[in-house]
């Protein structure tokens, strides 16, 4: 018997679960990461300290621990109605945002100093300099590292299977437990699903890189 055709609905659900988890937490991570990166270069010391603390803490927290903290901690803080899917999005998004922030910040560092100086000399404020001049150029150099961060995010979504979220990892776990199927074949199909997702991400980012490339 064929694992894939027998359990196609399950595989489809898991695949869609993983894709949704990846896309939503990628969006959250990009927004949060940009915000924290802006904090880290801002003229306000308190925000800089907050950004540094955010990045240092999250980069040194195991993702499983963060999942535990989010799934156990947030309900106690009053977020009772959230289901495990959205909690997983929150954990993955916050975790990845710290890495995105660092990628963006080193992107900001590669923007020639003259750009920011020119922007300042025509009277732009910090916000204008950052949003209109520096970040668009920084984004360009940050695209390859952000692409690999999002691939890592897609792989990290597997951890959500330990926290009651339906995605490919939980499909594998369920099918492994159900006797009768060859475990390696299950793994093969799950692996192919993940490879489809990661190849799509890297393809998208290569496209983006080519579109945004500037002849220097």
């Amino acid at each position: 018997m064929n694992v894939l055709s027998d359990n196609f609905a399950m595989f489809r659900e898991g695949f869609i679960g993983t894709v949704e988890l990846t896309v939503l937490s990628a969006l959250l991570a990009l927004v949060l990461g940009t915000l924290v990166a802006a904090f880290r270069v801002s003229p306000v010391p308190a925000l800089r300290a907050f950004g540094t603390a955010w990045v240092t803490l999250l980069r040194n927290t195991p993702l499983v621990l963060l999942f535990l903290a989010v799934t156990l901690g947030l309900p106690a803080l009053g977020l009772k109605g959230w289901d495990s899917f959205w909690l997983a999005v929150l954990a993955l998004g916050c975790y990845t945002s710290a890495f995105i922030c660092e990628a963006l910040r080193s992107g900001i560092n590669t923007v020639p100093v003259g750009q920011a100086e020119a922007a300042r000399s025509i009277g732009m404020t910090f916000g204008q300099t950052l949003v209109q001049i520096v970040l668009p150029q920084a984004a360009r150099t940050s695209i390859p590292p952000i692409g690999s961060l999002l691939i890592a995010l897609a792989k990290n979504t597997a951890i959500a299977s330990g926290f009651n979220v339906t995605e490919l990892g939980s499909v594998q776990k369920t099918l492994n437990a159900a006797s009768g199927y060859n475990i390696y074949v299950i793994f093969l199909w799950i692996a192919i699903c993940y490879i489809i997702i990661t190849f799509t991400i890297s393809g998208l980012f290569r496209l983006l890189e080519n579109r945004l490339a500037v002849a220097r």
């Binding site: 925000l47 499983v64 535990l68 106690a76 080193s106 475990i183």
Partner: protein, 299 residues
């Protein structure tokens, strides 16, 4: 005039405004932390009954045991992954095409697979009774592949002239590698290697999901055993205690990476410490792995 190039040195009004923003954001952050603490308190997470257990030596012994299990797993996985990384990197740098291809396929495959999926496979198929080895081998395969890439790029990053000169004085390939390239590459790779070891350490907590008795699992088992006080279970105290242990461990290892990076930068070519403030961000410490991104414009 030190400071970021992103904004002018603030004048009196700018300083006042920044101070206002600073006070407001400090208040907001303090308020957030205060709210979290208040809510945790209001839901009874700080009741003495939930924390008493941590005072018993028996509990502390269990935590230490869990910690030792985690560290043991980490140590085995770290050593094995460095060995595997060396082997794979050597194979990828080989002169024989089939060896190179095979190693490339292995490295790319294991880097593309989610670690947890590998661990599920190993746990279900090979090490059904021994989650530790499922975890260790999974960690080794993944991190070994990543380390192999770090080694390879480190060796490739040594200036060409070095190996050309070595070949020119008649060294064999092995001699070129061991006597010329590797010693120079190790210095530049070391921060990335240690950062990857931090990832290995963090990923040992995946054992939690396959019910391996490492630190996090001990924590959860412990919280489940503690009888609830006034209807509140001991999970959040557990997350606070065990989370702090994990974060301190990882921070310690990360700071080793940063320290090594500082040191290697300082001692290169025996020059006095270079000014790091080349980029836009003033005190930006170079993050491990993202080296070579000096900010002075070459465009």
């Amino acid at each position: 005039m030190s400071g970021s190039v992103l904004y002018d040195v603030p004048g009196p009004r700018g300083r006042a405004r920044n101070r206002l923003y600073g006070v407001l954001s400090t208040l907001a952050i303090a308020g957030l932390i205060g709210f979290v603490i208040y809510r945790l308190d209001a839901t009874g997470q700080f009741q003495a009954g939930l924390w008493d257990d941590y005072e018993y030596t028996e509990t502390q012994q269990r935590i230490v045991d869990g910690l030792l299990t985690t560290l043991k797993t980490f140590a085995i996985a770290a050593v094995l992954s460095l060995v595997l990384g060396t082997v794979l990197a050597t194979a990828r740098l080989s002169d024989h095409r089939p060896v190179r291809w095979a190693a490339t396929a292995v490295v790319e495959f294991f880097r593309a697979m989610p670690l947890l999926i590998m661990i599920f496979l190993l746990y279900a198929a090979v090490f059904t009774s021994d989650p530790m080895w499922a975890l260790v081998i999974g960690l080794t395969l993944y991190n070994g592949s990543v380390q192999a890439e770090i080694f390879r790029s480190g060796i490739n990053a040594v200036p060409r002239g070095q190996s050309e000169a070595a070949y020119a004085i008649g060294l064999r390939k092995t001699q070129v590698m061991t006597a010329v390239l590797v010693p120079q590459a190790v210095r530049s790779m070391l921060p990335s290697i240690i950062s990857q070891l931090v990832v290995t350490l963090k990923d040992t907590s995946l054992g939690f999901i396959i019910l391996y008795e490492e630190l996090l699992f001990v924590g959860k088992a412990f919280a489940q055993q503690t009888p609830p006080v006034n209807g509140v279970y001991a999970f959040i105290p557990m997350v606070i205690v065990f989370g702090s242990i994990y974060i301190l461990l990882c921070l310690a290892l990360s700071s080793v990476a940063t320290w090594v990076e500082r040191r290697t930068q300082r001692s290169r070519k025996g020059k006095p410490p270079a000014l790091p403030a080349a980029g836009i961000v003033p005190g930006a410490e170079p993050t491990a792995g993202a080296s070579g991104a000096d900010g002075t414009g070459t465009a």
